[in-house]
């Protein structure tokens, strides 16, 4: 359930008394209600479901995840085993 997609807020305005935004998804722009993320500013990213922004994307957390995944890559090589736990031939092991 719950198809929700991240996009960038490019405009904030009021419509019928509700705080609304224009959300840019890689060049296609759609309208979303920002009432549930009142602190969001233009240029920030949000996750939108059924025309409503439901969270502000935490960019620091996102960056941390990628750092962790890249670290995983290094750790796998350092340990001397391949992706599936089998020992790597000696010349493939990175120091």
């Amino acid at each position: 359930m719950c198809l929700a997609v991240p996009g960038k807020v490019v405009a904030i305005f009021e419509e019928n008394g509700l705080r609304m935004g224009h959300i840019d998804y890689a060049g296609t722009v759609s309208r979303a209600c920002l009432e549930y993320v009142p602190e969001i500013a233009v240029g920030q990213y949000t996750v939108v479901h059924a025309g409503f922004a439901i969270s502000m994307l935490d960019e620091a957390e996102a960056a941390q995840s990628f750092a962790a995944w890249r670290e995983l890559t290094e750790a796998v090589h350092r340990s001397g085993t391949d992706l599936f736990g089998n020992p790597l031939p000696p010349e493939e092991t990175k120091e």
């Binding site: 359930m1 929700a4 019928n16 509700l18 209600c33 994307l57 992706l83």
Partner: protein, 365 residues
């Protein structure tokens, strides 16, 4: 697309897959509750990459699939009223009722319109004061805040011609029911990342402790799902059973307070029947008395609905993860996506539809 594409990096995915393989030493059964996870797993073929002993069971997180037949029949009956514009998410258009679905009703002259957001339905009510605009408010907690705002907005604007036909369900009671069932085999859970975005994950802590199962709120991109699975199996292998948040960029422990407030203002928790599963106590939302004026069930007082399910349909067992679609005698015969007997064959993320789509065995060259 930023915050999407990076989460589909094949090289990083391979790393996570490899790590899952290195971690798993015994068979485990993990359920992804959310239909969105089922869909993503099928879309990228993630289940093909996992170790053989790691079994994924598809859960009942498909609000389309669990909407009671009676409600579909009521929606069809309401749509038939000439003054009504019945608005709905696209997902609901082809879900079978006892005799018809909404798309069939439209082809017979009912004014049924698809919307992307409940605010579009409110806009229709504003634009057409001479018509009754009914919004089919279906969803889990992710959608409830949107459906709540539509009611609040209609009241603010004095739109007496707007009402909602409510079919809101809650995840946690369903999880508890699954876990309490004696035949439950599931040992760990990927929790629905967008439900948790709204609700937080504090309420899962008691469940994890009581039933001794790891629960991981997970995002929907391949790297999210693979990391979520890795977190679950690491806990299982270590004998742990905590709530651990994979979807940190969107989910916080307490969720979205404003969204929860709007839900609490407009809806109250009530017993609810889940199609294929039956009555689950305190598992759904209904409009509060103060908002009764916006309740389409009361406004249209639809009588004489005698709901009938196709007798062969075992979607309930499938939603609980107790049977697989290809174990159903009707699967692929009387029941196909073109002629569905139950909701799990209609919904794009219903397990039966997914199995039908991907059932052929592909032999790599």
């Amino acid at each position: 697309m930023k915050y999407s594409d990076e989460y589909r990096d094949p090289a990083l995915a391979q790393r996570l897959v490899g790590e899952i393989h290195r971690t798993v030493t015994r068979p485990w059964t993990v359920m992804e509750i959310c239909g969105g996870h089922t869909h993503a797993i099928m879309r990228y073929g993630l289940d093909q990459l996992l170790p053989k002993g790691l079994e994924l069971v598809h859960g009942p997180g498909c609000p389309v699939c669990v909407t009671p037949v009676e409600l579909i029949d009521k929606a069809v009956a309401i749509a038939a009223c000439p003054e009504v514009i019945l608005t709905t998410f696209g997902d609901m258009l082809r879900v079978p009722g006892s005799r018809q679905d909404l798309q069939m009703a439209r082809s017979q002259g009912a004014d049924v319109r698809m919307v992307y957001s409940p605010l579009e339905a409110v806009a229709l009510a504003r634009q057409h004061p001479e018509r009754q605009v009914v919004f089919f408010a279906v969803g889990f907690e992710t959608t409830a805040p949107a459906n709540a705002m539509a009611v609040l907005q209609a009241r603010r604007e004095g739109l007496a011609n707007f009402s909602e036909l409510v079919s809101q369900v809650l995840v946690v009671p369903a999880m508890r029911a699954l876990l309490a069932a004696p035949e439950n085999r599931v040992q760990g859970y990927l929790a629905a990342g967008h439900v948790c975005t709204v609700m937080g994950f504090a309420e899962y802590e008691a469940i994890a402790a009581e039933y001794r199962v790891p629960i991981v709120p997970t995002g929907f991109e391949p790297l999210d799902i693979l990391e979520g699975l890795l977190m679950v199996v690491r806990q299982l292998e270590a004998g742990e059973h905590r709530v651990e948040n994979q979807y940190r960029r969107s989910v916080g422990r307490s969720g979205n307070a404003l969204a929860q407030q709007a839900m609490a203002e407009v809806f109250r928790v009530a017993d609810r029947t889940w199609r294929g599963i039956g009555l689950l106590p305190q598992s759904g939302l209904l409009l509060r008395e103060e908002y009764a004026a916006f309740d389409a069930e009361r406004r249209f007082a639809v009588q004489g609905i005698r709901a009938a399910e196709a007798p062969q349909c075992i979607s309930g067992l499938i939603l609980q993860g107790r049977q697989k679609p290809d174990q159903c005698p009707a699967f692929g015969r009387e029941c196909t996506p073109g002629h569905p007997l139950g909701a799990t064959m209609v919904s794009g993320e219903g397990a039966c539809a997914a199995y039908f789509k991907y059932q052929h065995v592909w032999i790599p060259a």
